[in-house]
């Protein structure tokens, strides 16, 4: 047995041992506040068990292992439906960035430890009304204010801002230079005067994203995490830092087995659905696709273990899997006949076709819209030319609105 297999098995055994307390069934019927509280307790337990910050340095409370063990643990953890969603972005991007770029490392260490134990949550304040796919189009201003800075403007789509203690933020410090060059990166205290968080309700009924308004929010200069005007590079580093994550070839929707069970239970026009050619094709095609994605992931793990860089094909997962989850969920609803209209907006997306379907579009937009992922593949991997960009080489304040 390889070390990694042993590691996974041990992790799985620990997860099994706490599943009744924190897992899927323990979470049924909880309010969001209760679920969040459970999540905080789970993170504490995970920390105590030695499965927090797996690939982070030990002096920051991590385990000092590699991203291989981290991905292996996450892969096991995903099976249990633990209440980790509130902390996913926090521990995925802002906190490691703080660890890497925070100027006051004593403070940073304190934050990292609290975040790992579920006591504090960080959010990522990048997107704005005018800066989504085009992140560098953002407008929130940071102006020099004595020795420090003053923030004014609005962020949009900030996941979990309503529960966050801190956030990382990109602001425009110089509108007279090209759009990428006038940005600076800071961390902010979400409880500071002048910060207002307003939840936005999404199509599926939940409200985990927010608008965040900044009204003369003052920062001392030690909040700055990039050179003045060098914020875009740190923003890119933030988006890249989680390169090695557990993937889900089900597109974060239900496992294909659930579709197969459904097809075995129901009929299509008087015949078992599982014998219907269209259903068989959908199953076969989805299986083949997911099989391919899983094999890409497995190979990436092998490459990492061998000390090599995984290939660019890993970027396909979200693009391919979420799109097909959307279609498969529609078909599963169809298979249920008129009764497919039954709806429980709180049903977990990994177990319910209706919530999987209604929430699928967010997966095709959040974390990079499909079109942007395709652009990245075309331009970065394949070397195809970029689209015409009239805003290139133009000072930000002269780009026609």
């Amino acid at each position: 047995m390889s070390d990694l297999v042993a590691y996974s098995e041990k992790a799985n055994a620990w997860l099994e041992s706490v599943a009744a307390e924190f897992g899927r069934s323990a979470r049924k019927g909880l309010s969001e506040a209760e679920d969040l509280a459970l999540g905080r307790r789970y993170l504490k337990a995970r920390f105590d068990a030695g499965y927090a910050g797996i690939n982070w340095p030990t002096e920051y409370g991590g385990q000092g292992l590699t991203h291989i063990e981290k991905v292996a643990f996450e892969t096991e953890e995903m099976k249990f439906g633990m209440p980790t969603a509130y902390f996913g972005i926090s521990l995925g991007m802002p906190v490691p960035i703080m660890m890497k770029f925070g100027s006051d490392q004593v403070f940073a260490k304190e934050r990292v430890l609290k975040a790992l134990q579920g006591e504090e949550i960080w959010c990522q304040l990048f997107s704005e009304p005018a800066g989504g796919s085009d992140l560098a189009g953002l407008r929130l201003r940071a102006e020099q204010d004595g020795n420090g800075w003053k923030l004014n403007g609005q962020k949009l789509w900030t996941s979990w801002a309503q529960y966050s203690d801190y956030g990382v933020i990109v602001a425009r410090t110089d509108p007279t230079v090209q759009k990428h060059k006038g940005l600076t990166y800071f961390w902010v205290d979400m409880k500071a005067p002048g910060v207002t968080v307003r939840p936005i309700k999404l199509a599926g009924g939940d409200s985990h994203v927010n608008e965040v308004f900044f009204d003369d929010v003052k920062l001392t200069d030690d909040h700055r995490m990039s050179p003045v005007g060098g914020g875009f590079a740190v923003a890119m580093a933030t988006l890249m830092i989680e390169r090695y994550v557990a993937t889900d070839s089900a597109g974060f929707g239900p496992h294909l087995d659930l579709f197969i069970s459904l097809a075995k239970e129901v009929e299509v026009n008087g015949r078992p659905a599982i014998e219907d050619g269209r259903i068989r094709q959908a199953i076969a095609r989805n299986y083949a696709m997911r099989n391919g994605l899983d094999a890409i992931t497995a190979r990436a793990m092998l490459m990492m273990q061998a000390g090599m860089e995984p290939g660019a094909e890993g970027s396909l997962n979200k693009l391919v899997s979420v799109r097909s989850r959307q279609r498969l969920s529609e078909m599963a609803i169809d298979l249920q006949g008129p009764g497919g209209a039954h709806f429980d907006e709180h049903a977990p997306v990994k177990e319910n076709w209706q919530t999987s379907w209604i929430n699928a579009p967010t997966g095709r937009i959040a974390g990079g819209a499909d079109e942007m992922l395709l652009n990245t593949i075309a331009e970065r991997i394949l070397g195809l030319p970029q689209d015409y960009r009239p805003d290139k080489a133009v000072p930000f304040n002269q780009i026609p609105a």
Binding site: S127, A130, G132, S133, D134, G137, L156, W157, I200, K201, L202, A203, G204, G205, V209, V266, E267, V268, N269, G270, A273, D276, R278, Q326, E330, I333, D334, L335, Q336, G337, P338, G339, G340, A341, H342, F343, D344, Q354, W357, I358, P361, T362, R364, I365, A366, A369, D370, E371, L374, D387, Y388, R389, P390, D391, K392, V394, I399, P400, A401
Partner: protein, 364 residues
């Protein structure tokens, strides 16, 4: 075959669009998603007041003696505005069942009420996954119905239902008043469809067709409704195409409108193709009523329209980026409606089979 709309038909389209756009707003529809048993009253009041409930019924019963083409035009506009209740289609289906297969007593009682919109009709054929079960489990014996019909649209408010049931010798199609029938409502992703299970516990009913004729009659009613629904789906897809276009023409990224990106532009142009195919197919089907190829035309229209609306819903949201998935922007009203319309009166899998059966039968 198709047809060119005449002046009267064009006036129906323009007028119904004008009145619906004035009276139905997204912010009135959104709260209905979270309330069981409610529908958009201004929509239904408008439908009654404008005579849409009477449109395709004979004058003898207070109808306006127009047909599928005209009712289709209304449904298309209703689809654009997200019709606030399923009753226009469900009542039309019930009325046609009574008109085409019922006796004078049934007609004389129900048709004037349905024409005035004072009664609401529902179609209760489906059981489990099957839109048209050949051996329904709901029993008809001694003039009474026993058993449960699952997830019937409009059932929470309907006064009369056309029920596909089973007696000793085979399937029957029966008309039942729902006065004393239990309605078991539940939460759905599109609550203004007023969906409920109907539990018949000895409700009296009148048979209008038996044996194979009952199944044929039921199939015919579904086909008539499918043509109306195909128009409604076309309207929904059309308005989504327009919203995607308008957004792509105004939303800016990378120093240009996002409509200048070919992937966005082509996505919207593809919706256009689907909408026009759906529109043409729906109108064609509306003109084929009474002809031997009606079922085929209805099935084709339904398939094309379902594809158009589901795709337009997916793609219009995608073109909107984050805004597309907010509650307030309301595009999910269309996502939800696209799915409910895809499921009512038989889903894609059903109509594909109907169509292929027709085509294969022709070849035999």
């Amino acid at each position: 075959m198709s047809l060119l709309y005449d002046e009267g038909q064009q006036a129906i389209a323009t007028e119904s669009r004008r009145v619906l756009e004035a009276r139905v707003q997204t912010d009135q529809l959104l709260p209905l998603l979270e309330r069981q048993g409610e529908f958009h009253r201004p929509f239904w009041d408008t439908a009654r007041e404008q005579g849409w409930t009477a449109l395709a019924l004979p004058e003898a019963y207070g109808g306006l003696e127009l047909g599928l083409v005209e009712l289709g035009l209304i449904a298309l506009q209703a689809g654009r505005s997200l019709s606030g209740a399923p009753f226009l289609t469900s009542s039309f289906g019930a009325a046609r069942a009574i008109l085409d297969f019922g006796d004078d007593a049934l007609r004389g009682h129900w048709l004037p009420l349905l024409a005035r919109g004072e009664a609401i009709g529902a179609i209760a054929f489906a059981e489990g996954q099957s839109p048209l079960p050949a051996n329904p489990t709901v029993k008809f014996s001694g003039g009474k119905l026993l058993g449960v019909k699952d997830a019937v649209s409009a059932a929470l408010h309907a006064d009369v239902a056309v029920v596909l049931a089973m007696n000793d010798s085979g399937p029957v199609l029966a008309i039942a008043s729902l006065k004393d029938v239990e309605r078991i409502g539940f939460n759905t992703f599109d609550n203004s469809r007023c969906i409920a299970d109907l539990a018949f516990n000895g409700a009296p009913a009148t048979v209008i067709a038996q044996g194979d004729a009952a199944l044929d009659a039921a199939q015919h009613i579904l086909a008539l409704q499918a043509v109306i629904t195909a128009h409604e789906q076309t309207g929904g897809a059309e308005v989504l195409m327009e919203r995607a276009r308008d957004y792509a023409n105004t939303r800016r990224a990378f120093g240009q409108t996002i409509g200048s990106f070919q992937s966005v532009k082509h996505r919207i142009a593809e919706i256009y193709g689907l909408v026009e195919l759906a529109r043409a197919g729906a109108l064609h089907a509306a003109t084929r009523e009474g002809h031997a190829d009606f079922l085929k035309a209805a099935a084709a229209a339904r398939i094309q329209a379902t594809e158009a609306y589901d795709t337009a819903a997916r793609d219009c949201v995608q073109v909107h980026g984050g805004i597309g998935v907010t509650w307030e922007a309301g595009l999910h009203l269309h996502m939800r409606r696209a799915r409910t319309l895809a499921m009512e009166q038989g889903n894609m899998l059903f109509w594909e089979d109907v169509l292929v059966n027709e085509l294969a039968g022709e070849n035999a």
